[in-house]
């Protein structure tokens, strides 16, 4: 579709407005290790049952050779 010359300023304005909205994404900063207070709450975990999670993770670890990434009690240092 070709825009008529009269439409162009409106389109340009819209595009600029959308670009300006992108600026909002720039302010995102991930929480620092000491700011994970609320994330560490039990209610913020993916799984409610700790024992079940441990079991699942154990199987996952032995099958995939990958571990960690769940919970934030240790701040993601892989030592938990």
């Amino acid at each position: 579709m070709t825009a008529s010359p009269a439409m162009r300023p409106a389109r340009l304005a819209l595009a600029l407005a959308l670009c300006a909205l992108l600026g909002g994404c720039a302010s995102f900063a991930p929480p620092q290790p000491w700011e994970k207070e609320y994330l560490a709450r039990p209610s913020m975990q993916f799984d409610a049952d700790r024992l079940d999670t441990r079991n699942v993770q154990h199987i996952y670890y032995s099958k995939e050779g990958a571990a960690g990434g769940y919970g934030v009690g240790g701040g993601g240092c892989g030592c938990n």
């Binding site: 560490a40 009690g73 240790g74 701040g75 240092c77 892989g78 938990n80």
Partner: protein
């Protein structure tokens, strides 16, 4: 060419590294109030070997580290060893509740705003730093692991011997 200038531009917006607490570098400043409101400064402890520990009540490895830190404070305190535990809870009540159930036999200071961990560039919870008698960081630990206890105590002993 365009790509290169983009790369250069993205390097410019990277946060400039301030004085992180890296082994071999002088410890960043630390001056915080304790439970009674008295200001405790790391500089004032120059001449002593100081173990600076960043912790919070919601961090389970931190809880596990407390009995060990009590032991270290008791065992090496007379030789000029000091533990400075920096609490990072946003709510003081959380810290007080934790300390009631997990007593600390060492100095605890409070930084609810999280100014010092930012300056020290703490990467994990808990994070601990061994500062020697000259005020230099000699060891940085992220996390608390049982298999590191012996090594860390050895570093404490070495720093005390070099004092």
């Amino acid at each position: 060419m365009k790509r290169r200038s983009f790369l250069a531009a993205s390097l410019l917006v990277l946060p400039t590294a301030s004085r992180a607490a890296l082994p071999g570098t002088p410890a960043p400043a630390l001056s915080l109030p304790d439970a009674s409101g008295r200001t405790v400064a790391l500089d004032a402890l120059r001449g002593k070997v100081v173990y600076v520990d960043f912790w919070a009540s919601w961090c389970s490895p931190c809880k596990r580290s407390f009995p060990w830190m009590n032991e270290m404070a008791q065992r090496h305190g007379p030789q000029g060893f000091e533990i400075l535990a920096v609490n990072l809870d946003r709510k003081r009540d959380d810290a007080d509740r934790f300390l009631k159930s997990t007593p600390a036999g060492f100095t605890v200071v409070f930084d609810p705003a999280g100014v010092t961990p930012a300056a020290w560039q703490v990467k994990g919870m808990p994070s601990s730093y061994l500062v020697d008698a000259t005020g230099k960081v000699v060891m940085a630990e992220s996390g608390f692991r049982d298999d590191r206890k012996a090594e860390v105590e050895e570093r404490i002993r070495a720093a005390l011997a070099a004092r």
